[in-house]
Protein backbone atom coordinates (compact mmCIF):
# COMPACT_ATOMS: atom_id res chain seq x y z
CA UNK A 1 0.00 0.00 0.00
CA UNK A 2 1.30 3.46 -0.87
CA UNK A 3 1.59 5.99 1.91
CA UNK A 4 -0.42 9.18 1.85
CA UNK A 5 2.78 11.20 1.90
CA UNK A 6 4.03 9.17 -1.07
CA UNK A 7 0.86 9.80 -3.02
CA UNK A 8 0.99 13.47 -2.15
CA UNK A 9 4.63 13.71 -3.23
CA UNK A 10 3.85 11.92 -6.49
CA UNK A 11 0.96 14.28 -7.06
CA UNK A 12 3.06 17.34 -6.37
CA UNK A 13 5.80 16.07 -8.67
CA UNK A 14 3.68 14.78 -11.52
CA UNK A 15 0.52 16.84 -11.29
CA UNK A 16 -0.27 18.50 -14.55
CA UNK A 17 -0.19 22.13 -13.42
CA UNK A 18 -1.53 23.21 -16.76
CA UNK A 19 -4.94 21.64 -16.27
CA UNK A 20 -4.91 21.84 -12.46
CA UNK A 21 -5.92 25.50 -12.74
CA UNK A 22 -9.73 25.78 -12.33
CA UNK A 23 -10.59 27.62 -15.54
CA UNK A 24 -8.41 25.36 -17.68
CA UNK A 25 -9.78 22.27 -15.91
CA UNK A 26 -13.28 23.53 -16.76
CA UNK A 27 -12.39 24.02 -20.43
CA UNK A 28 -10.83 20.58 -20.75
CA UNK A 29 -13.74 18.89 -18.89
CA UNK A 30 -16.36 20.61 -21.07
CA UNK A 31 -14.54 19.67 -24.26
CA UNK A 32 -14.17 16.06 -23.09
CA UNK A 33 -17.92 15.52 -23.55
CA UNK A 34 -18.43 17.55 -26.73
CA UNK A 35 -16.90 16.99 -30.15
CA UNK A 36 -16.37 20.76 -30.28
CA UNK A 37 -17.60 23.94 -28.59
CA UNK A 38 -17.56 27.52 -29.81
CA UNK A 39 -15.86 30.37 -27.96
CA UNK A 40 -19.24 31.80 -26.93
CA UNK A 41 -20.61 28.46 -25.72
CA UNK A 42 -17.55 27.88 -23.52
CA UNK A 43 -17.64 31.46 -22.26
CA UNK A 44 -21.35 31.24 -21.31
CA UNK A 45 -21.12 27.77 -19.80
CA UNK A 46 -18.09 28.51 -17.63
CA UNK A 47 -19.14 32.10 -16.84
CA UNK A 48 -15.90 33.66 -18.12
CA UNK A 49 -14.98 36.96 -19.72
CA UNK A 50 -13.64 37.07 -23.29
CA UNK A 51 -10.14 37.93 -22.06
CA UNK A 52 -10.06 35.24 -19.40
CA UNK A 53 -11.14 32.50 -21.79
CA UNK A 54 -8.70 33.68 -24.48
CA UNK A 55 -5.72 33.59 -22.13
CA UNK A 56 -6.45 30.14 -20.73
CA UNK A 57 -7.47 28.62 -24.06
CA UNK A 58 -4.24 29.86 -25.61
CA UNK A 59 -2.18 28.14 -22.87
CA UNK A 60 -4.01 24.87 -23.52
CA UNK A 61 -3.53 25.31 -27.26
CA UNK A 62 0.20 25.96 -26.85
CA UNK A 63 0.49 22.76 -24.80
CA UNK A 64 -1.24 20.83 -27.61
CA UNK A 65 -4.20 19.91 -25.38
CA UNK A 66 -6.76 21.87 -27.35
CA UNK A 67 -7.31 22.50 -31.05
CA UNK A 68 -8.62 25.87 -32.14
CA UNK A 69 -10.30 26.32 -35.54
CA UNK A 70 -11.18 29.81 -36.73
CA UNK A 71 -13.74 30.40 -39.45
CA UNK A 72 -16.33 32.91 -40.60
CA UNK A 73 -20.11 32.57 -40.36
CA UNK A 74 -21.19 35.25 -42.82
CA UNK A 75 -19.10 38.15 -41.58
CA UNK A 76 -18.92 37.02 -37.98
CA UNK A 77 -15.70 35.30 -36.90
CA UNK A 78 -16.28 31.97 -35.20
CA UNK A 79 -13.80 30.07 -33.03
CA UNK A 80 -14.33 26.36 -32.38
CA UNK A 81 -12.39 24.46 -29.72
CA UNK A 82 -11.91 20.72 -29.50
CA UNK A 83 -9.88 18.45 -27.24
CA UNK A 84 -6.85 16.72 -28.78
CA UNK A 85 -5.85 13.13 -27.95
CA UNK A 86 -3.03 14.53 -25.88
CA UNK A 87 -5.51 16.71 -23.96
CA UNK A 88 -7.77 13.73 -23.33
CA UNK A 89 -4.84 11.71 -22.01
CA UNK A 90 -3.83 14.63 -19.77
CA UNK A 91 -7.35 14.79 -18.28
CA UNK A 92 -7.36 11.03 -17.71
CA UNK A 93 -3.97 11.21 -16.00
CA UNK A 94 -5.24 14.09 -13.84
CA UNK A 95 -8.35 12.10 -12.85
CA UNK A 96 -6.16 9.12 -11.98
CA UNK A 97 -3.99 11.33 -9.77
CA UNK A 98 -6.98 12.67 -7.89
CA UNK A 99 -8.41 9.19 -7.41
CA UNK A 100 -5.05 7.80 -6.24
CA UNK A 101 -4.76 10.59 -3.70
CA UNK A 102 -8.24 9.95 -2.29
CA UNK A 103 -7.63 6.20 -2.26
CA UNK A 104 -4.36 6.60 -0.39
CA UNK A 105 -6.13 8.52 2.40
CA UNK A 106 -8.95 5.93 2.53
CA UNK A 107 -6.54 2.99 2.71
CA UNK A 108 -4.64 4.48 5.60
Amino acid sequence: MRSVAGAADDTAAELDRLIHERVRLGIVSALAVNASMSFNELKTMLGLTDGNLSVHARKLEEAGYVDCAKSFEGRTPRTEFSLTDSGRRALEAYLNHMEALIQAVRDR
Partner: protein, 208 residues
Protein backbone atom coordinates in the same frame (compact mmCIF):
# COMPACT_ATOMS: atom_id res chain seq x y z
CA UNK B 1 -12.69 8.99 -20.97
CA UNK B 2 -11.66 7.79 -17.53
CA UNK B 3 -14.34 6.45 -15.24
CA UNK B 4 -15.44 8.87 -12.58
CA UNK B 5 -16.33 6.94 -9.50
CA UNK B 6 -19.10 8.12 -7.18
CA UNK B 7 -17.69 10.38 -4.54
CA UNK B 8 -18.26 9.18 -1.00
CA UNK B 9 -18.29 11.62 1.91
CA UNK B 10 -15.16 12.07 3.95
CA UNK B 11 -14.99 9.68 6.92
CA UNK B 12 -14.12 12.60 9.18
CA UNK B 13 -13.32 16.30 9.08
CA UNK B 14 -9.86 16.95 7.61
CA UNK B 15 -7.48 17.58 10.43
CA UNK B 16 -4.08 17.09 8.82
CA UNK B 17 -2.55 18.21 5.51
CA UNK B 18 -3.02 14.84 3.77
CA UNK B 19 -6.73 14.81 4.57
CA UNK B 20 -7.01 18.38 3.37
CA UNK B 21 -5.28 17.31 0.13
CA UNK B 22 -7.80 14.48 -0.23
CA UNK B 23 -10.71 16.88 0.29
CA UNK B 24 -9.34 19.14 -2.41
CA UNK B 25 -8.92 16.17 -4.74
CA UNK B 26 -12.57 15.27 -4.15
CA UNK B 27 -13.58 18.84 -4.80
CA UNK B 28 -11.66 18.75 -8.09
CA UNK B 29 -13.36 15.51 -9.14
CA UNK B 30 -16.75 16.95 -8.27
CA UNK B 31 -15.98 20.07 -10.31
CA UNK B 32 -14.95 17.95 -13.33
CA UNK B 33 -18.08 15.81 -13.09
CA UNK B 34 -20.42 18.80 -12.76
CA UNK B 35 -18.74 20.63 -15.64
CA UNK B 36 -19.06 17.54 -17.83
CA UNK B 37 -22.75 17.21 -16.97
CA UNK B 38 -23.47 20.83 -17.76
CA UNK B 39 -21.39 20.79 -20.94
CA UNK B 40 -23.01 17.53 -22.04
CA UNK B 41 -26.53 18.91 -21.68
CA UNK B 42 -25.48 21.84 -23.81
CA UNK B 43 -25.72 19.88 -27.01
CA UNK B 44 -27.27 16.60 -25.89
CA UNK B 45 -29.86 16.62 -28.67
CA UNK B 46 -28.87 15.47 -32.11
CA UNK B 47 -29.70 18.18 -34.63
CA UNK B 48 -29.62 15.79 -37.58
CA UNK B 49 -31.83 13.43 -35.58
CA UNK B 50 -34.41 16.22 -35.29
CA UNK B 51 -34.22 16.79 -39.05
CA UNK B 52 -34.94 13.09 -39.67
CA UNK B 53 -37.84 13.27 -37.17
CA UNK B 54 -39.10 16.33 -39.05
CA UNK B 55 -39.07 14.47 -42.37
CA UNK B 56 -40.92 11.57 -40.69
CA UNK B 57 -43.41 14.14 -39.32
CA UNK B 58 -44.07 15.52 -42.82
CA UNK B 59 -44.55 12.00 -44.18
CA UNK B 60 -46.91 11.12 -41.31
CA UNK B 61 -48.94 14.32 -41.91
CA UNK B 62 -49.33 13.41 -45.58
CA UNK B 63 -50.38 9.86 -44.70
CA UNK B 64 -52.75 11.16 -41.97
CA UNK B 65 -54.58 13.24 -44.58
CA UNK B 66 -55.36 10.05 -46.48
CA UNK B 67 -56.99 8.26 -43.53
CA UNK B 68 -60.78 7.97 -43.63
CA UNK B 69 -61.65 7.16 -40.01
CA UNK B 70 -60.68 8.84 -36.75
CA UNK B 71 -59.49 5.46 -35.48
CA UNK B 72 -57.01 5.01 -38.36
CA UNK B 73 -55.92 8.62 -38.06
CA UNK B 74 -55.09 8.31 -34.33
CA UNK B 75 -53.44 4.90 -34.86
CA UNK B 76 -51.21 6.35 -37.58
CA UNK B 77 -50.04 9.20 -35.32
CA UNK B 78 -49.42 6.78 -32.44
CA UNK B 79 -47.17 4.62 -34.65
CA UNK B 80 -45.43 7.77 -35.94
CA UNK B 81 -44.80 8.94 -32.37
CA UNK B 82 -43.15 5.64 -31.45
CA UNK B 83 -41.00 5.70 -34.61
CA UNK B 84 -39.93 9.30 -33.89
CA UNK B 85 -39.03 8.50 -30.26
CA UNK B 86 -36.86 5.62 -31.52
CA UNK B 87 -35.16 7.88 -34.10
CA UNK B 88 -34.55 10.47 -31.37
CA UNK B 89 -33.05 7.90 -28.99
CA UNK B 90 -30.85 6.35 -31.68
CA UNK B 91 -29.46 9.62 -33.05
CA UNK B 92 -28.92 11.09 -29.58
CA UNK B 93 -27.11 7.89 -28.54
CA UNK B 94 -24.92 8.17 -31.64
CA UNK B 95 -24.08 11.79 -30.83
CA UNK B 96 -23.41 10.91 -27.18
CA UNK B 97 -21.07 8.12 -28.26
CA UNK B 98 -19.26 10.53 -30.59
CA UNK B 99 -18.64 12.75 -27.58
CA UNK B 100 -17.83 9.70 -25.40
CA UNK B 101 -20.73 10.43 -23.07
CA UNK B 102 -23.23 7.89 -21.74
CA UNK B 103 -26.81 8.40 -22.91
CA UNK B 104 -28.39 7.41 -19.62
CA UNK B 105 -26.05 9.36 -17.37
CA UNK B 106 -26.31 13.01 -16.44
CA UNK B 107 -27.80 15.25 -19.14
CA UNK B 108 -29.41 12.54 -21.27
CA UNK B 109 -31.31 11.13 -18.31
CA UNK B 110 -32.27 14.61 -17.09
CA UNK B 111 -33.62 15.46 -20.55
CA UNK B 112 -35.67 12.26 -20.77
CA UNK B 113 -37.04 12.64 -17.23
CA UNK B 114 -38.15 16.23 -17.93
CA UNK B 115 -39.76 15.33 -21.24
CA UNK B 116 -41.58 12.25 -19.93
CA UNK B 117 -44.34 13.79 -17.70
CA UNK B 118 -45.99 15.91 -20.45
CA UNK B 119 -45.67 12.97 -22.85
CA UNK B 120 -47.46 10.65 -20.38
CA UNK B 121 -50.13 13.34 -19.79
CA UNK B 122 -50.52 13.62 -23.59
CA UNK B 123 -50.97 9.86 -23.98
CA UNK B 124 -53.67 9.73 -21.26
CA UNK B 125 -55.52 12.79 -22.60
CA UNK B 126 -55.40 11.28 -26.10
CA UNK B 127 -57.37 8.28 -24.88
CA UNK B 128 -59.87 10.51 -23.03
CA UNK B 129 -60.46 12.90 -25.97
CA UNK B 130 -60.64 10.06 -28.49
CA UNK B 131 -63.28 8.24 -26.40
CA UNK B 132 -65.26 11.48 -26.06
CA UNK B 133 -65.22 11.88 -29.85
CA UNK B 134 -63.03 14.98 -29.64
CA UNK B 135 -60.17 13.77 -31.86
CA UNK B 136 -60.08 17.08 -33.72
CA UNK B 137 -58.56 18.70 -30.61
CA UNK B 138 -55.65 16.24 -30.57
CA UNK B 139 -53.20 18.08 -32.90
CA UNK B 140 -53.33 21.20 -30.72
CA UNK B 141 -53.01 19.14 -27.54
CA UNK B 142 -50.03 17.14 -28.85
CA UNK B 143 -48.21 20.21 -30.14
CA UNK B 144 -48.74 22.09 -26.87
CA UNK B 145 -47.70 19.27 -24.54
CA UNK B 146 -44.68 18.37 -26.67
CA UNK B 147 -43.68 22.05 -26.64
CA UNK B 148 -44.08 22.18 -22.85
CA UNK B 149 -41.86 19.09 -22.48
CA UNK B 150 -39.18 20.51 -24.77
CA UNK B 151 -39.12 23.81 -22.88
CA UNK B 152 -38.60 22.15 -19.49
CA UNK B 153 -36.22 19.46 -20.80
CA UNK B 154 -34.22 22.02 -22.74
CA UNK B 155 -34.01 24.57 -19.92
CA UNK B 156 -30.30 23.85 -19.44
CA UNK B 157 -29.52 23.21 -23.07
CA UNK B 158 -28.61 25.57 -25.89
CA UNK B 159 -31.15 28.36 -26.38
CA UNK B 160 -32.44 26.84 -29.62
CA UNK B 161 -33.99 23.88 -27.74
CA UNK B 162 -36.39 25.74 -25.37
CA UNK B 163 -37.07 28.23 -28.17
CA UNK B 164 -38.24 25.35 -30.35
CA UNK B 165 -40.55 24.34 -27.48
CA UNK B 166 -42.04 27.85 -27.37
CA UNK B 167 -42.82 27.67 -31.10
CA UNK B 168 -44.48 24.26 -30.58
CA UNK B 169 -46.67 25.72 -27.84
CA UNK B 170 -47.64 28.64 -30.08
CA UNK B 171 -48.45 26.24 -32.95
CA UNK B 172 -50.53 24.12 -30.55
CA UNK B 173 -52.46 27.11 -29.23
CA UNK B 174 -53.25 28.37 -32.74
CA UNK B 175 -54.21 24.82 -33.81
CA UNK B 176 -56.72 24.55 -30.97
CA UNK B 177 -58.53 27.66 -32.21
CA UNK B 178 -58.30 26.79 -35.93
CA UNK B 179 -60.82 24.86 -38.02
CA UNK B 180 -60.60 21.10 -37.39
CA UNK B 181 -59.70 20.43 -41.03
CA UNK B 182 -56.40 22.29 -40.53
CA UNK B 183 -55.17 19.72 -37.96
CA UNK B 184 -52.85 17.83 -40.30
CA UNK B 185 -51.44 21.08 -41.63
CA UNK B 186 -50.51 22.21 -38.12
CA UNK B 187 -48.98 18.81 -37.39
CA UNK B 188 -46.88 19.12 -40.57
CA UNK B 189 -45.84 22.67 -39.64
CA UNK B 190 -44.93 21.67 -36.07
CA UNK B 191 -43.60 18.12 -36.08
CA UNK B 192 -42.30 18.52 -39.64
CA UNK B 193 -41.30 22.15 -40.14
CA UNK B 194 -40.13 23.15 -36.65
CA UNK B 195 -38.06 19.98 -36.23
CA UNK B 196 -36.35 20.49 -39.59
CA UNK B 197 -35.62 24.21 -39.02
CA UNK B 198 -34.35 23.87 -35.43
CA UNK B 199 -32.64 20.53 -36.15
CA UNK B 200 -30.62 22.14 -38.94
CA UNK B 201 -29.78 25.07 -36.66
CA UNK B 202 -28.62 22.80 -33.82
CA UNK B 203 -26.67 20.49 -36.16
CA UNK B 204 -24.81 23.37 -37.81
CA UNK B 205 -24.02 25.26 -34.63
CA UNK B 206 -23.57 22.51 -32.07
CA UNK B 207 -21.68 19.66 -33.70
CA UNK B 208 -24.26 17.36 -35.29
Amino acid sequence: MANIHPIRPLPQEPTDPSLDLSARAMDNLRFIRETMERAGSFTALSGWGLVVIGVAGLLASWLAGRQHTAEDWVALWMVSAVVCVLIGLLTTAMKARGARMGLLTGPGRKFALSLAPPMVAGAILTVVLYRAGLSTGLPGLWLMLYGAGIITAGAFSVRAVPLMGVFFMIAGTVALFSPASWGNMWMAAGFGGLHIVFGTLIARRHGG
